[in-house]
Every structure is written in structure tokens, then in C-alpha cells.
């Protein structure tokens, strides 16, 4: 085995929270509100249900092949050539593309909202370099760090709570304003982003109790859904559907509006802290699975030689594969990344693999 570390259930759940939330809480609400207006929070809740299905699918598939990652059992199911192709598709088009997307979003937010004069490459190179160090030290280190930082989310909860004075529940009315269709359309984007927990398929073999995987997947999907619903509600309840759709990062602006007794204000630093720490873990996990997958695909004994080259690819992808400016980036996410990733990598291939495995009778009984 390439990875010798073991992580426990709690660490895995935390890791899945960090895979989804850091970028999602800021970038998602605007897009959903644009389609589903004041029912955006319902979209997120519906998306959570969809993600539970995705999680169930991927975990059932993985549990048929104990001790093997997605890249390994793809070969077992489809045969060597096809399996390697699927594996490479996952690495290049999902892990690296979505990972570099995370790098891009991470850097763009910091440039747009905080440090406009800094070249964007500074942020992307820095975050990838730090992540490279963590990845080189293995999954366990990444998880430990994540466990250390995640309590910062508690601060986020306090900030959301403080903002309740600016909230007006009436802004959520009327429910089902334009019927069911916009709500359904609005679910696509959060489903894709929360669906990134399919990365579990690469991590399940390293759980100290793999039989807990189903519970881990369900809990992380629910937690993700909960926090994402909360941040969508935060933006909606403060700005209402009209203004929330106008911002690029509505949650960020919502937090900036908080002013308690003219004293407790300028709380956006909490959001930024969450963004920086979480963004690093998110990039780290994508980076890790890309490196691990490549090593397994190439039958290497050690994945560490791949850390540097994959990092370079991440940085260059983030500069060249996501358009030239923030408008391109948002367009790519909503028009290309979301439908493509969701249909192909989060639902399509895992479903196909499961069906073929069942037909060919590969793998043990799913528990």
C-alpha cells in the first residue's frame, strides 16, 4: 500500500466538510439565489438529499472492494486498459480540474475582496506549496491539521448568530414563488459541489474502520447540507433575493453588514480566516487524491516523487484552465464544471462501475 496512515471516522467526516464548505459557502449562494430566488435554501436542502444518494452509491461501490481505492478497483472491474483510462479521466478531469478550480476560487476571492494589488499567482502558488508539504507527509497529517482548524467554524456560527438582528424572515416569502422548476434547477449546483464527497472513494481504504464508511458519508453529507443551507439563509435573510443575487460573494457582504452597538463590526476577517484555512485543506485533499491516484495508476511504490510535478500542474491549471477573469471563472463553474462533473464523475461513472461490478460479479458483498 502506498499510504500507511490510518484515519478515524471523525477525521474523515471533518475532511469531507473541508472538501466542500470552504469554497461553497461563499461562491454558491449567489448562483442558487439567481435561479431559485427566495427558495434557494429549499434547493440546498433538496440537494442534500441528492448528495445522500451519491454518497450511498459511491460508498456501496467502494465497500465491495475493501482496501482498494477507486483507481484500483476500476481496473479490477473494467480490466486493465479501460480501468486505467477511467482512472486517468478521474485524475485529470476531476481531481486536477476541480482541485485547480478550488485554487483559482481561493485566489480570486482574496484578490477581489481583500488584496487587489497582489498578483493572483502569489496566492495560488502559496496555497499549493503549503498543501504540497502536507500531501508529502501523507493523509494523516492533512487530517490532523484539519481537525485542528475546523473549530474555527464555530466562530463562523457565532458570526451568523450575531447577524440575526439584521435578518427579516419575511424576506423568504412567498415560498414556491415561481413554482417547483426554479428550485429543481437551483439544486444542480449545490449537488455538484457537495457531491465532491465522492473523494471518499479514494480515502475509504485508509479508514481504521472501513465498515463505518456509510455512516461517515451520510453524516458528512448532512453536515455539509446544514452549513450550506445556513449560509444561503444568511445571505437571503439579510439581503433578500433581489440584492443577494447581485453580489458575487453574498455571504461575505452579509457578514460585513453586521454592526452591533457600533462596536462589534468588521467581522469579515472570520470569513477570511475560514476561507484561507479551509481553502488550504480543500486544495490539499484534491491534491492528495490526484497524487495517490496517479501513483496507483502508474504502479509506483511511493507517491512522493509525484508531489512536485502534480503541484506544478495544479498551479498552471488554475492559471490557464479557468478563464482569464472572474467572470469566466463563474461562467465555467456554472455552465461547464457543474453539469459535467455531476453527470460524469459523481453519478455516471460510479453508477456504471457498480452495475458492471454487479453483472460481472466482481468484488465482495456490499455490507
Amino acid at each position: 500500500m502506498l499510504e500507511h496512515g490510518k484515519i478515524d471516522g471523525k477525521q474523515a467526516i471533518f475532511l469531507m466538510l473541508s472538501v466542500v464548505l470552504p469554497t461553497a459557502i461563499l461562491t454558491i449562494p449567489a448562483g442558487i439565489v439567481r435561479t431559485a430566488r427566495q427558495d434557494a435554501w429549499l434547493s440546498v436542502m433538496a440537494a442534500t438529499l441528492a448528495v445522500l444518494l451519491i454518497a450511498w452509491l459511491v460508498v456501496s461501490l467502494s465497500l465491495r472492494f475493501p482496501g482498494k481505492t477507486l483507481c484500483e478497483y476500476a481496473e479490477e472491474i473494467l480490466g486493465k486498459t479501460l480501468g486505467k483510462i477511467v482512472c486517468l479521466l478521474y485524475i485529470w478531469l476531476f481531481f486536477l480540474y476541480a482541485g485547480s478550480g478550488a485554487v483559482r476560487q481561493f485566489s480570486f476571492f482574496l484578490v477581489t475582496a481583500m488584496m487587489p494589488e497582489t498578483p493572483i499567482e502569489v496566492f495560488s502558488i502559496t496555497v499549493v506549496a503549503v498543501a504540497a508539504y502536507a500531501v508529502r507527509n501523507g493523509l494523516e497529517v492533512l487530517c490532523r491539521f484539519n481537525q485542528l482548524f475546523l473549530p474555527v467554524t464555530g466562530l463562523l456560527a457565532i458570526v451568523f448568530f450575531l447577524s440575526t438582528i439584521e435578518m427579516k424572515p419575511a424576506r423568504l416569502l412567498p415560498v414556491f414563488d415561481a413554482g417547483l422548476l426554479p428550485i429543481v434547477k437551483g439544486t444542480v449546483m449545490p449537488t455538484m459541489l457537495m457531491g465532491e464527497i465522492v473523494l471518499l472513494a479514494m480515502i475509504i481504504p485508509y479508514l481504521n474502520k472501513p465498515e463505518e464508511a456509510q455512516r461517515i458519508a451520510i453524516l458528512s453529507a448532512l453536515f455539509n447540507g446544514f452549513v450550506l443551507t445556513a449560509s444561503t439563509l444568511e445571505a437571503l435573510l439579510i439581503f433578500g433575493p433581489d440584492l443577494a443575487a447581485h453580489w458575487i460573494f453574498p455571504t461575505f457582504n452579509a457578514v460585513r453588514v453586521i454592526s452591533i452597538a457600533n462596536f462589534l463590526e468588521r467581522l469579515e476577517s472570520v470569513i477570511v480566516a475560514f476561507w484561507v484555512l479551509g481553502g488550504f485543506v480543500k486544495v490539499g485533499v484534491f491534491y492528495y487524491v490526484a497524487v495517490l491516484g496517479s501513483a496507483q495508476c502508474l504502479n509506483l511504490k511511493d507517491y512522493r516523487p509525484l508531489v512536485l510535478p502534480v503541484g506544478v500542474i495544479l498551479v498552471s491549471f488554475s492559471s490557464f484552465m479557468h478563464g482569464e477573469n472572474i467572470v469566466d471563472m463563474i461562467y465555467y463553474i456554472s455552465q461547464i464544471q457543474v453539469p459535467f462533473m455531476l453527470i460524469v464523475f459523481e453519478v455516471g461513472i460510479p453508477l456504471l462501475l457498480l452495475i458492471i461490478a454487479l453483472v460481472r460479479g466482481k468484488g465482495g458483498q456490499s455490507s
Binding site: E117, D177, G240, L243, H246, N253, R256
Partner: protein, 397 residues
């Protein structure tokens, strides 16, 4: 071990570089803006005026100890095609980096507001540095004059105006609230009005002979915007009506004629209030039931009637609701007939209840609103009467 210590030391010292020199900003090199004003000049250019704090006047004991009389703020302006353009010209006059984060107020001059407020707010919402919770106001006259006024009790007019706003005596709005009203189809934006008033000659202690006419900033009603252009004003009385209808009359007093003694007044201070707007629509007729609930304490009585009796309190409550009804009706009529604009958010209330009908009506909502009937019902309660039970020399004793 030694290697480890060396690495730790290296990291420790390297962290000193983390702050970096890129985009660094020393507080002594910032021009901290307290108030911003935007006017339209005669030539159609945008004039950006800013009030910059001069730090010396703010430091502890700055007023008394030496250094003479440094004015606490400096008002400077520049003109340009856009706000950013004007800001660049401004940068040629200000020897420090312009720093927006602490701007308390954003004042739009009357002529600029007639041209369009969106042209102004866009810059301040798009650029990350100014805060979304800046107070937005429209000046009667020039915005620059507001910034140049000399305040009392606060160092600069921007701070004084900010404090005035926070007292919630008038209708007040932060720039993001304006943006919300602007984005919504169910309400037309209204913005605080401010003007400069002569306060007469200061003759207080310490002002001596060199007293001149003092110019002070005063909240003055509300500017009514159509889409984003100033089309008229509500005076202070009408603003009260607006506050009642928007459910934001949380402070202030209701002055009613005293029961039993015409010509004399009783003041009731508002303690809490809320407003509920219930739209009714039968496919043809549109009307709104506005239910206002208010609680207050009697704080002043000019008459000599003994009001500390249940039936007199009842009479007071009736007078109070009559008074509020008259106020709101006047404002409502002005909005419906003179401006033809839904400045109260009735459209949003309608949208909440009749979502299907709204889809069609939102496009000509202001006409629908102008034709709508409104029933105003006020439930007024007098809770306390202060520390006096009856006025001295009450004839009924």
C-alpha cells in the same frame, strides 16, 4: 536537535517577512475619510468631496495641549467624469493614500440625485473598501456643504451626522438597504434628507467676539426616488407618516390634543410599535389593511384636566390613534397622488400573499398602488403616565 532549533529559528525570523512590503499601508500614510459627498457640477461633471480626518486633532488631549488649533478635518474635492476619475484627481491633492473604510456617511447632492443615485452607489458597493453600512443621504443643496459644516459635540460634521442618524429620529438608511430597495420591484427607494442650517451666532462660553454664524447639519425629511432618481421630498411631518407605514417608528413622540381641554396638548412618547400590512385582492379591487400597533408613555401635559383616570386614558388612546391615522393618511396621499410611487413596500407585502398575481402586476406596480385603497387601523395604548398623577391645581380636585 541543533538542526531543528536552527530551522525553528529560521522560520521564526522568516515570519517577520510575512507582513511583506507589498501593498503595505502605514496608518500615518493613510488619508482616513470620514464622510463622502458626491455632487454634479454645472458642467455635468461629478465632484467628489471627502472629509479627511486629521489625526493630530483626534489624539488624546489634542484640543488643549499645544500645537495650536488644528482643524479636526479637512474637506477636499475634485471633479471627474466618474467617481473613480474624480478620486484620481483627488489623489493629486491629497498627500496620502485615500482610505475609504471608515467613511461614515455618503451624501449625494440634490442635482446629482436628480441625475441618478445608482451612478453613485455603484462605485461604493463594487469597490470593497467602503463599507456597506455607510449611512446614505441626499442633501438639499450641495453635498459638499454638508461636509464643510461645523459641528457641535462631535469633531467633524460626518461624525455628527452619523450620530444624528443613529438616534433614529428620522428615516435612516444604510447603503445596502438602499441597494435592496433599489433591487426590489415591490418598493421604491427613499433616502434620508439632510440640509445645512444656520444656527445663529454662537454666544456660548469661550466663543467670545470672534463668533460667526455657525452652520450645522440637520436631518430634513426624506428624499423620494423614482427608480433611482430624486423626484421629490417628504418633510419632517410626512416622514413620521412614512415611518409608521414602514413599521420603523421606534422612537419619537405623538402630540395629541388634550381630552377635556381643547387647545392644550399632551405628549406621548413612543415605546414600541409595529406595523402590519395586509393586502386584499379580488381580481379587480386592490386594497390594503394597515394595522399599526403602538405603545407609549405620557410624558407631558399642558392641560389641567386630571388624566389619571381610566376613561381619560381611553380618550387619550383614541386621540393618539386619530393623530397617527391623520399623519399616515397625509403621507400615503402624497405618495399615491403626487408621486405615484410605492415607497412603503406594499408591493412586497402583496407579493408575499398573492405570488401569482404579482408576476403580472409587478411590471406596473406603481400604477396599481396609486389606485389601491388603504384602510388604516391604529391600536394605541398608553402604558405609563410618568411620575405625576395629576397636574397641580387640577380643577377637579
Amino acid at each position: 536537535m541543533r538542526k531543528k532549533i536552527a530551522i525553528l529559528l529560521l522560520l521564526f525570523f522568516l515570519s517577520g517577512l510575512l507582513g511583506g512590503c507589498w501593498s503595505r499601508s502605514e496608518i500615518g500614510e493613510e488619508a482616513i475619510i470620514l464622510g463622502t459627498g458626491v455632487d454634479l457640477t454645472e458642467d455635468g461633471l461629478i465632484r467628489l468631496s471627502v472629509q479627511i480626518a486629521s489625526p493630530g486633532a483626534f489624539s488624546a488631549g489634542g484640543d488643549t495641549s499645544g500645537g495650536g488649533k488644528e482643524p479636526p478635518a479637512w474637506v477636499v474635492w475634485a471633479e471627474g467624469e466618474t467617481i473613480e476619475d474624480a478620486e484620481r484627481y483627488l489623489a493629486m491633492k491629497v498627500p496620502r493614500r485615500i482610505y475609504w473604510d471608515h467613511s461614515i456617511i455618503l451624501v449625494i447632492g440634490e442635482r446629482m440625485a436628480k441625475r441618478g443615485t445608482e451612478m453613485v452607489s455603484n462605485f461604493f458597493l463594487r469597490t470593497g473598501e467602503p463599507r456597506e453600512n455607510m449611512w446614505l443621504m441626499v442633501a438639499r443643496g450641495e453635498a459638499r456643504d454638508i461636509l464643510q459644516a461645523q459641528p457641535m459635540l462631535a469633531k467633524t460634521s460626518a461624525q455628527a451626522t452619523g450620530f444624528l442618524t443613529r438616534m433614529k429620529t428620522g428615516y435612516i438608511v444604510q447603503i445596502w438597504e438602499y441597494a435592496e430597495m433599489r433591487a426590489s420591484k415591490g418598493v421604491q427607494p427613499v433616502v434620508t434628507g439632510v440640509e445645512v442650517q444656520d444656527f445663529g451666532e454662537g454666544r456660548g462660553p469661550g466663543q467670545g467676539e470672534n463668533s460667526t454664524v455657525q452652520k450645522k447639519v440637520e436631518l430634513s425629511g426624506v428624499a423620494v426616488l423614482k427608480v433611482d432618481k430624486l423626484i421629490g421630498w417628504l418633510d419632517a411631518h410626512e416622514t413620521r407618516g412614512l415611518l409608521w407605514l414602514k413599521g420603523e417608528a421606534k422612537e419619537g413622540a405623538v402630540i395629541v390634543p388634550s381630552p377635556g381641554e381643547p387647545g392644550k396638548e399632551v405628549s406621548i412618547k413612543i415605546r414600541r410599535s409595529h406595523t402590519k400590512i395586509v393586502p386584499e385582492y379580488d381580481g379587480e379591487n386592490l386594497w390594503f389593511n394597515v394595522n399599526i400597533y403602538v405603545e407609549g408613555d405620557m410624558v407631558e401635559q399642558q392641560s389641567r384636566v386630571d388624566l389619571a383616570k381610566p376613561e381619560q386614558i381611553k380618550a387619550l388612546e383614541t386621540a393618539m390613534s386619530e393623530e397617527i391615522k391623520a399623519r399616515t393618511t397625509a403621507t400615503l396621499e402624497k405618495a399615491q397622488t403626487e408621486y405615484g410611487l410605492d415607497i412603503f413596500g406594499f408591493g412586497n407585502a402583496f407579493h408575499r400573499k398573492y405570488r401569482k398575481e404579482w408576476r403580472e402586476m409587478q411590471n406596473h406596480w406603481d400604477e396599481e398602488f396609486s389606485r389601491a385603497g388603504v384602510n388604516i387601523a391604529v391600536e394605541a395604548h398608553v402604558r405609563g403616565i410618568g411620575l405625576l398623577s395629576m397636574p397641580a391645581g387640577s380643577p377637579e380636585k
